[in-house]
């Protein structure tokens, strides 16, 4: 896997049957509850392995913590949340490293396995493919609203969504002909679709009305709880064109940076309906067909 197609993790082939997937991610707390923060950070780190089509094998904690000013029990809660997600993923915690730092940070370095012939790269989406997104969007907007102590229902739904692993989504989609896959994180749904489209040399069409949204995300965006990252993403993504009737809050959500977002699969049109049904059956009720690959291109995205 080269560095030029912005893939979610590094892949190193060991032999004809096995390749290693390696990834690392950590960040500062976005929720006050340390246990939930641990869950979210771990789910976010593990997601990169799922986005490459692999299974997590081992994980190592990466921790920064203010040893003097915060109770060690807080760190214990963060690690407990992380451990639960590592176990849920079927992986084993093999170690970690902690440094003393003013602001807490937590995440995982994850090693996974994949068959070299079954790697889900960013490049690989083909004209005619349909796109499936497995989690609703709006975690950035709702995390901003949370700091304003507003939209409590939406915030709760966002936390639940961020703490959920992409394990079931990846395992379910494994039964279908996935041409390309990525997970939706900091660059927002359009940023990561752009990476997929550019790496695949295609043009994408997104149906904004089909995008699964977290409850109250639209209202929160309209109220001005749009994180700075959404504006940076908008600035950076120059190949996105919106049809004029797409409402402003929906546009903001398209650029909203996600934490531990869902997977996007690009797969043949004839398998799309069955894949969607299988994902919903597996309990991923927010799953939706959000767009299609319309033809060759350089990463252009039309949102209608």
């Amino acid at each position: 896997m080269g560095l030029d197609t912005a893939d979610d993790a590094g892949v190193f082939q060991l032999d004809a049957e096995t390749a290693l997937i390696q990834t690392v991610d950590f960040f500062t707390p976005l929720v006050d509850d340390p246990y939930l923060f641990g869950q979210i950070a771990a789910a976010n780190s593990l997601s990169d392995v799922y986005a490459m089509g692999g299974k997590p094998l081992t994980a190592m904690n990466i921790v920064a913590f203010p040893m003097c000013s915060l109770d060690a029990a807080v760190l214990g809660e963060i690690l407990k949340g992380g451990q639960e997600k590592i176990s849920e993923a079927g992986a084993v915690l093999v170690g970690g490293h902690t440094i003393d730092d003013a602001e807490p940070k937590y995440g995982l370095s994850v090693t996974g396995l994949v068959h070299p012939g079954k790697v889900w790269a960013n490049a690989g989406a083909r004209p005619g493919d349909r796109l499936i997104l497995t989690k609703p969007i709006g975690t950035g907007v709702l995390a901003t609203a949370m700091r304003a102590e507003m939209f409590a229902d939406g915030v709760q739904a966002a936390i639940t969504s961020m703490a959920a692993l992409n394990k079931v989504a990846a395992e379910t989609a494994g039964a279908f002909s996935v041409h390309a896959c990525t997970d939706i994180t900091g660059f927002g749904v359009l940023g990561h679709l752009f990476e997929m489209a550019a790496a695949s040399g295609v043009r994408i069409e997104v149906d904004s009305r089909a995008l699964p949204l977290l409850p109250e995300a639209t209202e929160a965006a309209a109220m001005g709880f749009v994180p700075g990252g959404a504006y940076s993403n908008r600035e950076y993504l120059t190949r996105v064109a919106f049809r004029t009737d797409v409402p402003d809050p929906i546009r903001d959500l398209c650029f909203d940076p996600q934490t531990s977002g869902g997977l996007v699969f690009s797969l043949p049109e004839e398998e799309a309906a069955a894949a969607l049904a299988a994902l919903k059956n597996a309990g991923l009720h927010a799953c939706a067909l959000i767009g299609r690959i319309v033809g060759p291109g350089r990463g252009e995205i039309d949102v209608y």
Binding site: A222, M223, A241, D248
Partner: protein
């Protein structure tokens, strides 16, 4: 009618929105001016105002944004603002027409002297390439553009173009924009005129 100012400079989101919300909740009608120092806060405060049925206009001074929010009965200023229409102008040079540049400069001046007399006023004036000389210090039509800005016409100058002509520090009216916004404004306008 009350007039309040919220100084939200140095605050990060969502604090400017929360401070604006509190100030608006404290008055029945009137004007709240929120001062912010970054684009994210500016856009979010405007969104908040519009979502709550208030009028909002933005003025940029020395890199700070003054978001003037009007709650309740429409003010004189809002009625003026409502007089702007939907026409968007893309202004790509500082002389009008082809032929003599000397004549073109005279025509440009005549154009911006006349533009405020025509109703409805344009919605936006987008300045690109040599057009950005008109919004920078030393522009022969600066006063006319400032008057249009005060009446609610949006003036946006292409940042790349200001850079190219070394005018980024000299922008004297309106704000800086990018190609994304320019294209969005053009494609959303029912009528766009290129000069």
């Amino acid at each position: 009618m009350s007039t309040n100012t919220v100084d939200a400079r140095g605050l990060t989101c969502p604090q400017p929105v929360i401070a604006t919300k509190k100030a608006l909740e404290a008055i029945a009608d009137g004007v709240v001016t929120t001062i912010v120092d970054n684009l994210t806060a500016k856009e979010n405060v405007v969104k908040f105002a519009v979502a709550n049925g208030c009028g909002a206009s933005v003025e940029e001074k020395d890199g700070h944004y003054y978001v003037r929010i009007t709650k309740g009965a429409p003010t004189e200023e809002q009625r003026d603002t409502a007089a702007t229409g939907e026409i968007v102008y893309l202004i790509s040079k500082d002389t009008l027409g082809h032929g003599s540049d000397e004549l073109g400069a005279v025509l440009t001046k005549a154009f911006f002297v006349t533009l405020p007399e025509v109703e409805p006023l344009p919605k936006s004036l987008l300045f690109i390439n040599g057009g950005v000389r008109l919004t920078a210090q030393g522009s022969p039509v600066l006063d006319h553009l400032k008057a249009l800005s005060e009446r609610g016409v949006e003036l946006l100058s292409c940042g790349t173009c200001l850079d190219y002509y070394h005018l980024k520090d000299k922008l004297a009216v309106g704000s800086v924009t990018n190609m994304y916004t320019i294209l969005a404004k053009l494609s959303e306008a029912p009528k766009a005129i290129t000069l």
